[in-house]
Amino acid sequence: MKIAVLSGKGGTGKTLVSVNLAAVAKTSTYIDCDVEEPNGHLFFKPKDIIEEEISVKIPKVDGNLCSGCRRCVEFCKFNALAYIKEKLIVFEDICHSCGGCILLCPEKALTEKEKVIGRVQKGTSEQVTVYTGILNPGEPSGIPIIKKLLDENEHERSKTIFIDCPPGSACIVMESIKDADYCILVAEPTLFGVHNLNMVYELVKLFNKPFGVVLNKCLDGENPSEKFCIEKGIRILGRIPFDNELGSLNSNAEIAVRKSEKYRTIFSSLLEDVKKEVHHETTSDS
């Protein structure tokens, strides 16, 4: 069972929800797909880390074969190539690894070479297996890392897998939720929160994913996000109150369910509800 946790913006509590759900589920897998700013590992502090580098294929030129026809320079849609003083220059961090120039070069002067764009770490924190994807700064796309993170876990389907998605609704988020069985949308109780929730709501609808909302940072009084859910008939999975205890545990990168009975109860019941929902969705689907 794969559960993706997402939100329209960072800082809404996406990591809080996914980390605590994974921790309360005991034997589970937590995957941090927020490869530009992975934060989950700060909470889990995983041990026995195994690291693997992720690379993509970029072109390499053999100056002796290159005739200077410039076909590659003209082809490259990303302007990653320049031909100056009878030499081809490849801009490695601009290259999107499409392979076009290599296919096209009439002199076979271009070949592939590997370029490391980031890494995937696997470790454990109590019974939780923690995967972290880390994109090197300045790389154009984190998608190859996300693909790797999610492929790795194909065989572990029996465990509950929690995917901490990147914020927003860009293509990298789509990649992260592609194979999810269920999506949890985390929303803040403000006007901004509604706007951001609406974005991911559109996204999960587009992908036809079953989903529900967790309302975070709930205060007394009006909650525009709650109103939004009621209006749209969206299932509200749970409410996490705003309080100082949780705030300070979280800002010190502690996992609330491992420190406090109160939060263990809140997240256990949230987990139960989510599981029921997933079960319901998967049985009514088939």
Partner: protein, 122 residues
Amino acid sequence: MKIAIPVNEKSLESNVCVSFGRTPYFLIYDTDTQKSVFLDNSAAASTGGAGIKAAQMIADNKVNILLTPRLGENAADVLKSAEIEIYKTTTASAKDNIDVFIAGKLPLLNEIHAGFHGHGGK
């Protein structure tokens, strides 16, 4: 000697454009013939790598000197390979900058800003 300047308008009196890669035009001034030509910058519309493409164009036009307020890392690499010298402009017009340069009073451009990784910026 040929001098290139990114300009906002096709005129010698034009302001210098703050963006090298995305300037609408380049003014190419030939100090030997004292003639100026304006080139449309085809790189301006690229989503990424505009600086590289613009630098390629400057190099292809056999320019020796570039006067610009700012420059990205990648474009600077291209220009350096092409052995083009880069000087930092003032806020004056293109023509004034050429005059100041010829008088030997423009400083070399030293700060090269980090690239935009193909995602725009200027």
